[in-house]
Subunit: 351 residues, 2 copies
C-alpha cells in the first residue's frame, strides 16, 4: 500500500474531533491489520451535496435515454456545476435500465445557484410527457454526518473527488463498529431514526419524505488495475456472492430496514461500462446497515470471500475498495420522481 | 420459549438504568427475533463474587484430586459459604486434568468472613508440598460491571444461581454490540483497558495482577433436555466447530487478546460429567472479545452452525444457552497459583 508514514490518525478530521469521544478501541491503542484512509475536506466546508440525477427507461435503446444523458452532461458543465461527478448504470428488478449521474459539491451556495438554473428542470412536472422517468435523490449532509473509507490513498472515488485529498492511515477501521466510530456526529449522538417515510403526490411529481437519521451507503470496488489472474479470481470467487447480497437487499431488503439497493456499473466518458462497480443502498438507520453487515448470511458471505481474496493476493492485490456513508438529518434529504414506475428508489420505502 | 409476556424490558435492571443512555437500538423501538432473559439480583446487591477454586493434576486418577475435591465440597458447605456453586473439569493443553469449583456470592461480607476461615487455605503456600496445583481466580465485580443472557428463564446457571430470578424478555440482544449494551457501566464508560499484566512471585505462590477493565466470559450450553435427534445433530454439526474455536482461543488466543480459555464439562454431585458444558475465557478487554465474536473465522463458524441448529429445530429445540460477562476493575481481580505449571490460567497472560 502507498502509505507514507506508519503513524495513525483518526478518520475524523482534527477540527471535527470532540473531547471525551469514546470509539470502541481507545485512541492510540489499536493497530489495525492493514491500512485504510478517509477523504479530507477543507475546514471551511460545513456540508456536502450528493445529488443523484436519474433517468429510467424500459428499453435501453430508447433515444430519450441518450438525449437525457447528453442534457445532463451539459447541465453539469454549466456555471457552479459539481466539483466532481460520475455516472453509473444498472437494470432494476422490473427490468428498467436506470442511469444515474452522481454529482458532488462542497459549496452549498454554488449548488443552490446551479440548481435553480440547471438542476430543477431535471424533475420538472412537464417531463412526464417524455415517456421516460426522471428523478433526483438529493442528500446534503453536514460534514459531521459523513464518513468515508478507502483501501488506497492515491485515487479518489465518489465524494472524495470533491475533497482536498486523503488522510493518513486511519485508526477506526477493520473492526465491527468502526463505521459508526468514523462518523463525527456519533461522538455525541446515537443517531436513532425518528419518523416514518411518507409520499407526497403533486400531479405527476412524487416526493418522498424519509425521516431523521436515515442512512445511505455507496460501497464500491475498482478492478481497473488488477491483472488477469486477480480479475478472474475476483469474478469467479467474489463477484457472485456480492451480486447475491446486492440482489437480496434489492428484493428482500425491506424486511431488514433496507429501503432500496442498486448494484451499479460506473460508465466512462462514452457511457461505456468500466471495471468499477458499486452498490448504493438506503437504510432506515445506521443500525440496520450495521446489523446486516455484521450478521446477515448474505453479507457474512461477501465479507468471507472478499477477505479470502485479499489475503490470497496479499500485497499483490490491485483491487481497490471504498465506501461513503451518510446519516442525513430529515431536512438534508429530498427525493423527487417524475414519470418513474412505482417501485423506483425511495418510492419503495413507503408501504 | 417460556416467556409470559410480550413486553420487553432492558437487560439492565431498573435501578441501574441511567438517563440518556444510548444503546445501539433506540429503547422501545427494537424487536429482537427471539426471546432472551437476564439474571436479576436484589437492589441491595452492590457487587457479586465469582471465585474459581481450581485443582490441577497430571494424572486424573491421582488420589490428591479426589481429596482436594472432597475438601472443597466441605469448605463450600461451611458457614457463610457460597449462595451457589458448581464444578467443572477439563484437560488443559499440557495434558493436566483441572477441576474448578466455581462459587458465587452476592454478599461480599459473607464471602470475606468465609474466605478468612475456609477460602484462604486453598492457596496456602504449604500446599506446594501436595504435589498437585491449586489456584484461586477471584473476581468481585460491582453489579454494573456484569451482564448475563439466557435463552430460557426457567433454569439458572452460573451467577444467576445466586440471583433472585430472571428478567422478562430483554431488548438488548440478537445484534452485534448487544453484549456491551447490556453492561450497565457501558452506559457511561467506554471500558478501555489500562495497564499490563504482571506476575508477583513470593516463594511458591505466584500472584498475577492483570489491569483495569480486563474481561471474563463464561458461555455455556445445556443439552440435558434435548431429545435423541437434537442431541445427535448438536454433536455432529455444532460441537466440532465450538471445540475448534475453543482450542483456537486456548492455543492461539494470545495474538488476539485472549489470555486463556478453558472448555469445560460441568460435573454432577458424584463428579461425573453432565450434558452441560461451557467455555470460560479471559480477555484483555471487552473489545477484544467483541472483535473475535464478530469477525474471527472460528467464531463466525460457531455462530453459523449454532444459528442453523436453532433454526432447523425451531421451537422444538431444547438446547439452552447462556453467558455471563464481567469487566472487573483492577481492584476487583485476584489470581493466585500454588504448585501449578507455568502455563496455567493467568500465568499465561504474562509474557
Amino acid at each position: 500500500m502507498s502509505a507514507e508514514t506508519s503513524t495513525l490518525e483518526s478518520s475524523i478530521a482534527p477540527h471535527l474531533l470532540r473531547e471525551g469521544r469514546s470509539p470502541k478501541h481507545k485512541p492510540g491503542a489499536y493497530q489495525p491489520p492493514y491500512p485504510s484512509f478517509s477523504a479530507r475536506f477543507g475546514e471551511d466546508v460545513t456540508a456536502v451535496v450528493m445529488a443523484y440525477f436519474g433517468v429510467q427507461v424500459r428499453d435501453a435503446d430508447d433515444p430519450a435515454l441518450a438525449a437525457s444523458l447528453a442534457d445532463m452532461r451539459q447541465r453539469f458543465a454549466a456555471t457552479d456545476g459539481p466539483a466532481y461527478w460520475d455516472r453509473a448504470r444498472y437494470v432494476d428488478a422490473d427490468g428498467y435500465t436506470t442511469v444515474i449521474g452522481i454529482a458532488y459539491w462542497v459549496d452549498k451556495a454554488a449548488f443552490d445557484a446551479w440548481y435553480s438554473a440547471e438542476g430543477a428542470p431535471w424533475t420538472d412536472p412537464a417531463r412526464v410527457a417524455d415517456g421516460v422517468g426522471h428523478f433526483l435523490e438529493l442528500v446534503t449532509p453536514s460534514v459531521d454526518r459523513l464518513e468515508t473509507i478507502f483501501s488506497a490513498n492515491d485515487k479518489v472515488e465518489g465524494v472524495a473527488g470533491a475533497g482536498t485529498g486523503m488522510s493518513g492511515m486511519i485508526e477506526e477501521h477493520a473492526y465491527w463498529g468502526s463505521m459508526r466510530d468514523r462518523l463525527p456526529l456519533s461522538q455525541g449522538a446515537p443517531l436513532y431514526p425518528e419518523g416514518t417515510p411518507r409520499i407526497v403526490e403533486d400531479g405527476p411529481v412524487c416526493t418522498v419524505v424519509l425521516h431523521e437519521n436515515a442512512c445511505v451507503i455507496r460501497s464500491g470496488q475498482d478492478l481497473t488495475e488488477t491483472g488477469e489472474t486477480e480479475r478472474s479470481a475476483y469474478l469467479a470467487e467474489v463477484e457472485p456472492s456480492l451480486r447475491e447480497g446486492m440482489d437480496f437487499l434489492r428484493d428482500q431488503g425491506n424486511g431488514i430496514g433496507c429501503y432500496d439497493n442498486r448494484y451499479m456499473t460506473v460508465l466512462d466518458e462514452n457511457d461505456q461500462p468500466t471495471l468499477r462497480t458499486f452498490g448504493v443502498s438506503w437504510w432506515r438507520d445506521l443500525s440496520a446497515l450495521e446489523d446486516w453487515a455484521a450478521s446477515h448470511p448474505t453479507h457474512v458471505q461477501i465479507f468471507g470471500v472478499a477477505m479470502r481474496h485479499l489475503s490470497s493476493f496479499g500485497p499483490e492485490s490491485r483491487l481497490r475498495l471504498y465506501h461513503e456513508v451518510t446519516v442525513p438529518a430529515a431536512t438534508e434529504q429530498r427525493f423527487v420522481y417524475v414519470g418513474c414506475h412505482a417501485r423506483t428508489g425511495m418510492l419503495r420505502a413507503v408501504s
